[in-house]
């Protein structure tokens, strides 16, 4: 499926904004990115059914936000999408189940940014970012020209050039988050799955990171972000997958999903939805829903 086609099928107010961001998001995938499909996906962890019969097709070229209350299964869903938890049903990249990919090939196609931002050794930032190229070269080979080019673009996109020689334990939380994002971008994955990439960031850095992810989608890649901030979700997402107790409560273009009725049903809060300057839904929680 072509990217232009997928966007044309689903015109969306934020499409123009995505186009504006083009060229700032680092390397495009350089090929047509297939959609990512969940087919009757169920996940059981420690005898608890965490995800139940999830069926949805996420489209490349768009930012899909996964939203839901605590414990709804958001993190598990992105882990399942990267084949990091045992699952029944299937996750497919195009027509191919990701379970059939060799781990290295899967790592080249699907980049995963975990919520846990631990970096266990105090290595310079450049070594963390270079790790993103690991699936692309044989284990003991030095970085090649393509590796260096991808790293340079990821560094430019995350504005981490000034951090490269600094030991990561001396970086601030925001700087470290950018370095870790650069690591995933350097891998040039078709699909980028980010689990709460905004946690512990100040508003300016939240906006920066979201803009970079949007630019990445605008360049043709698939981008999935787990979020819990409704304002940021409205700002960033083209599509929203709303999870409740491990099942899909709603899935579609952000403007269709982020409605007071949906949010009241899933989060048990009253939300006022306005339109921001770009015409995207701006969700303002007003209070807990009564009854």
């Amino acid at each position: 499926m072509g990217i232009g086609q997928s966007n044309a099928d689903h015109p969306h107010p934020s499409h123009a904004a995505a186009q504006r961001g083009k060229g700032e998001g680092g390397p495009g995938p350089g090929r047509d990115v297939p959609p990512l499909t969940f087919a009757s996906l169920s996940v059981t962890l420690s005898n608890r059914l965490v995800l139940q019969d999830i069926t949805a097709t996420l489209r490349p070229g768009r930012v899909t936000a996964i939203l839901g209350p605590n414990g709804a299964g958001k993190s598990t869903l992105v882990k399942a999408a990267a084949a990091l938890v045992p699952a029944s049903g299937a996750v497919r990249l195009g027509h191919r189940p990701i379970a059939t990919f060799d781990p290295n090939e899967r790592a080249r196609r699907i980049g995963y940014l975990p919520q846990d931002a631990a970096i266990h050794w105090n290595v310079p930032a450049r070594e963390v970012i270079a790790l993103g190229r690991a699936p692309h070269h044989s284990p003991f080979a030095a970085l090649g020209d393509a590796d260096r080019a991808a790293i340079a673009e990821a560094v430019a996109a995350t504005e981490t050039a000034g951090l490269l020689d600094r030991p990561v334990h001396e970086l601030s939380g925001g700087e470290r988050a950018r370095v870790l994002l650069a690591r995933v971008l350097a891998g040039e994955p078709d699909w980028l799955l980010a689990d709460e990439p905004l946690a512990s960031l100040d508003p300016a850095h939240q906006i920066d990171i979201l803009d970079r992810l949007r630019a990445r989608a605008a360049a043709g890649a698939g981008v999935v972000i787990v979020l819990h901030d409704l304002v940021q979700a409205g700002r960033a997402a083209d599509d929203v997958l709303l999870l409740e107790s491990g099942a899909v409560a709603a899935f579609g273009p952000a403007a269709d999903v982020l409605t007071p009725a949906n949010l009241r049903a899933v989060f048990a809060i009253d939300v006022t939805v306005a339109a921001d300057r770009a015409g995207r839904p701006l969700c303002i929680p007003v209070g807990r829903a009564d009854g």
């Binding site: 990091l84 980049g111 975990p114 070594e127 690991a134």
Partner: protein, 320 residues
């Protein structure tokens, strides 16, 4: 200075200490004895050369396995002892001494090491997590330690007990080619397996889930670590008894020089381990009096001040 230059300097240090190890002892043999045909040179060829080679190889595998385990467990306190392999190999050797199978000491130690590796693999196979690995290893180490103490207490005579304790303290004293050669294949294969872990250890810097998402097969990595540590540490304990401290301290000493990236520390740790053991063993022989200082004692005397200085420096930098 480039990494290659630093490695070359470390290798030069190892060569220097190797040469010193050939010369140093109760009788100082100068290099000139070689070309002057001095009969003293026979001391070097027959006694000191195999001992120096053993020190080199032993130090290298202990340093390497320490670096691999610290990287794998992402814990700077890890060393080969936490896996329980050294205690288990020691248990096998002690059993051989107590029951009088001295000819089969090497085989007993290797069998016990293999048994503990198999147990460790069975205990940690499903979890593949570092915490489970440390817990299982610690339990195995305590169990082997308790069984060793039990064997000592049922030893048939005080000579056996003395021999066991002597052996447990670890030394290169009186070890020759006949001790080293049977161990070499195990040490070589084990070291090769450990060196293969580098790229996966680097990815683990970002945690287990991130490493898996980057294509790392954690099960394969764990198999390499268990097998590599079991072969190297098991074989080295079988030859020299338990020599501690090297695996713990060497990667620490080298991090300020070679950086914290786990794969970048593997080769330097092997060289650094060889240097430390060669230096400590030479020191053992230089002690005044007729006897020798224990290798473990000399090791602590050399390593501990370095380590303390490092800790103080890191505290100043606010790392500890």
């Amino acid at each position: 200075m480039t990494r290659t230059a630093r490695l070359a300097m470390l290798a030069a240090l190892v060569l220097l200490l190797f040469a010193a190890s050939l010369m140093a002892g109760k009788i100082w043999v100068p290099p000139s004895a070689w070309w002057s045909g001095d009969p003293l040179w026979r001391i070097v060829i027959e006694l000191r050369l195999p001992r120096a080679v053993l020190g080199l190889v032993l130090g290298a595998v202990l340093g390497l396995s320490g670096a691999v385990l610290q990287g794998y467990l992402r814990n700077p306190l890890a060393d080969p002892a936490v896996v329980g392999v050294s205690s288990s190999a020691a248990l096998g050797a002690v059993a051989a001494i107590v029951f009088g199978w001295t000819g089969g000491l090497f085989a007993c130690a290797m069998l016990a090491a293999a048994g503990s590796m198999a147990l460790l693999a069975a205990l940690t196979w499903r979890s593949q997590s570092a915490v489970g690995f440390i817990l299982a290893g610690t339990v195995l180490a305590s169990l082997a330690g308790a069984l060793t103490a039990f064997l000592i207490s049922i030893a048939p005579n005080p000579y056996a007990t003395a021999e066991v304790i002597d052996w447990l303290m670890g030394a290169l004293t009186d070890r020759g080619w006949a001790d080293l050669l049977p161990a070499l294949p195990f040490l070589g294969v084990g070291a090769a397996l450990l060196l293969l872990t580098g790229p996966a250890l680097d990815a683990l810097t970002l945690g287990e889930t991130a490493a898996r998402s980057m294509g790392v097969r954690l099960g394969r990595l764990q198999a390499l670590v268990v097998l590599g540590t079991g072969l190297t540490v098991g074989a080295s304990v079988a030859v020299t008894g338990v020599v501690g401290f090297v695996g713990l301290v060497v990667p620490h000493l080298l991090r300020p020089i070679f950086g914290h990236r786990p794969a970048a520390l593997l080769l330097p740790s092997a060289l650094g381990g060889a240097a430390l053991v060669l230096a400590a063993d030479s020191l053992c022989r230089l002690a005044p009096g007729p006897g020798e200082v224990r290798l473990g004692v000399a090791m602590a005397l050399i390593g501990a001040p370095f380590f303390l200085a490092l800790l103080l420096k890191e505290r100043k930098l606010g790392w500890v």
